[in-house]
């Protein structure tokens, strides 16, 4: 166990440090760098990929229910619309603003905004219906100034401008996709049950028999990396690797 001791310093060093500390206090009292953002009169500028409230476009929804399945907080419920299609409703009491639903939306119907400060009168109001999700929620913009934090190596500066931050991001940054493919890690232990072949949705796994020898093949170009074959392999000898 190491004992923590006060570092040894000569008196001169100590005096210099005292003087430096007092100097900092004097400097800051004269020309301070106030880091306070006086919300709501000033608003901090959020980056474009800030995860805020979620907007919905019914035209693009393909009813795949992926958003409801993937929501980790179980905040999305699918409700039937008059045109017999199911559209998502979000319970903002549960929503953790992770934006998995937006990432998983196959049709691009869900999109993000930078709005984060909506107030509700009671818990029931937090259940946002589909109709309410099409337009951004109503917020009162009291801010007159926009505060931007500019950080360089040594210092933090606050740039205050008389602007209003646009809270609806029109163009989201494109997500980086990592392609995974399925591979066999123990060829000799394959029992040739063809379960992987049956389960593959994209037809990437195929088999052929020639001269009493059966050959299994995974086409890495067709493989989408969905992982179903990995789950279903009876000997558990398939795995997903990066392409």
């Amino acid at each position: 166990m190491k004992k923590v001791t006060v570092p040894e310093q000569s008196t001169v060093e100590k005096a210099v440090r005292h003087a430096a500390a007092i100097g900092v206090a004097v400097k800051e009292s004269v020309y301070p760098l106030t880091a306070t953002v006086q919300y709501p009169r000033q608003r901090k500028k959020m980056p474009d990929n800030f995860r805020g409230y979620i907007l919905f476009d019914p035209e693009k929804c393909i009813n795949c229910w992926e958003c409801a399945f993937i929501c980790p907080a179980n905040a999305i419920r699918m409700k039937e619309a008059p045109n017999k299609k199911y559209y998502p409703t979000i319970d903002y009491g549960r929503c953790i603003f992770c934006h998995f639903c937006i990432d998983s939306c196959s049709g691009g119907a869900l999109r993000a905004t930078k709005i984060h400060d909506v107030a509700y009168k009671d818990m029931d109001e937090m259940l946002t219906l589909t109709e309410e999700m099409i337009e951004p929620p109503e917020i009162i913009r009291e801010d007159k100034k926009l505060v931007e934090y500019q950080i360089d190596e040594k210092d933090l500066r606050l740039k205050k401008t008389r602007e209003e931050d646009n809270l609806i991001v029109e163009k989201a940054p494109p997500p980086v996709e990592i392609q995974m493919v399925s591979q066999c890690i123990d060829r000799a232990s394959c029992i040739g049950c063809h379960v992987c072949e049956h389960v593959c949705e994209s037809g990437a796994i195929s088999s052929s028999i020639a001269n009493g020898v059966m050959r299994m093949k995974i086409d890495t170009d067709t493989c989408t990396g969905c992982g179903l074959c990995v789950k279903e392999c009876s000997m558990q000898i398939l795995t997903l690797v990066r392409k």
């Binding site: 591979q183 066999c184 890690i185 123990d186 060829r187 000799a188 232990s189 394959c190 029992i191 040739g192 049950c193 063809h194 379960v195 028999i209 009493g212 020898v213 059966m214 050959r215 299994m216 093949k217 995974i218 086409d219 890495t220 009876s234 000997m235 558990q236 000898i237 795995t239 690797v241």
Partner: protein
């Protein structure tokens, strides 16, 4: 550890005798319908889904539509191409032992082997068969010697336990290795698995065999014993020694000659010639040593390391064992070769 990942590989497809039928039907016609099936359940272990025990018989309901025709069952069945083993087999050491810390059928050396292998770090789990209050078997993964306070894990059960399907599950879960205990048919099944599929070679590290003359299906033996007056709620131990089946209860014993139970012997046992489980890493049984001791036949280097560990730690007392005492039962089982129909 870098994995070798492959996009293409080959699978050995075994020959089919019935060319236009699925592999299970082949297995059925060769092994099951000819009453050679030992119910080792190796096929059930490897089958991707379907083979199970129905009415004390290995079967695959709806096999015509559901069998995936992979041929794995046929590859691993030890009796599909039957090469019967017999005799005492090769061994490095022939001794008798009595564990100082466990209680079992005789000297509890089987339990001692598995637990010592766990303590050595050779395996991280052992598969034991326990029994419920009706003396039906259920499989346990033992990962710590503390679990052996469940005393029903030790002691011979004289009925079938589903060791091999449990072994497949254990092999999927284990990190360092599995230790398994089985009768000679089970041991043969494991060796066939290891021959065909490398993953079993990697993960099944210790196979302990038991001396075995025959086994009984659960329904048959429990009805028989009940008819003889055995109360399962009071039953403590069952023993077959010197031709007598002895059931020890808390308030008395029921004894009868084993030959009385001839009719209910499982059909597959009639063609089994292996008494001492010659393919195991080590074999244990009661014959050949003094009362309270188990005979231990150490066959492979792995088992040798374990018994040296047991000796070094002083976990067991060792005594003399006489191979000559096994001759009668070895000969008795060898005679069953006549029952094999070709």
């Amino acid at each position: 550890m870098k994995m070798v990942t492959e996009s293409e590989w080959e699978v050995n497809v075994p020959d089919k005798q019935l060319k236009d039928k699925v592999y299970f039907e082949n297995l059925k016609s060769v092994v099951i319908d000819t009453e050679m099936c030992s119910r080792c359940l190796t096929c059930a272990a490897i089958c991707p889904g379907g083979i199970t025990v129905v009415n004390n018989k290995v079967d695959f309901p709806d096999y015509e539509t559901k069998c995936l025709d992979c041929g794995a069952c046929v590859r691993v069945c030890p009796r599909f191409v039957y090469e019967p083993k017999s005799g005492l087999g090769d061994y490095i050491e022939f001794t008798a032992g009595r564990s100082k810390r466990f209680a079992g059928q005789d000297g509890a050396m089987v339990t001692e082997f598995i637990v010592s292998a766990m303590e050595m770090g050779l395996i991280d789990r052992g598969l034991f068969a326990g029994r419920d209050e009706n003396w039906a078997t259920e499989m346990f993964h033992v990962r710590d010697s503390e679990q052996l306070t469940i005393t029903t894990l030790g002691g011979t059960k004289y009925t079938f336990a589903d060791v091999l399907p449990e072994l497949k599950k254990a092999v999927m879960f284990t990190k360092s290795g599995v230790g398994v205990i089985g009768t000679p048919c089970i041991v043969s099944g494991i060796r066939k698995l290891q021959q065909e599929f490398p993953i079993f070679r990697e993960k099944v590290k210790l196979v302990v065999g038991l001396f075995c003359t025959e086994n009984f299906h659960y329904d048959d033996i429990s009805n028989f014993l009940k008819a003889k007056g055995v109360d399962f709620s009071k039953l403590v131990k069952t023993d077959i020694t010197k031709g007598k089946f002895i059931s020890t209860m808390t308030d008395g014993k029921v004894k009868f000659k084993v030959t009385e139970a001839e009719d209910i012997v499982a059909s597959g046992c009639n063609v089994c010639t292996d008494f001492t489980a010659v393919e195991s890493d080590a074999s244990c049984g009661s014959v050949g040593s003094a009362k309270g001791f188990s005979t231990v036949v150490v066959r492979t280097e792995v088992a040798k390391k374990v018994i040296e560990f047991i000796r070094a730690k002083g976990h067991a007392d060792f005594g003399d064992a006489d191979p000559a005492q096994l001759d009668f039962l070895i000969g008795h089982k060898k005679k069953r070769a006549e029952n094999i129909k070709r």
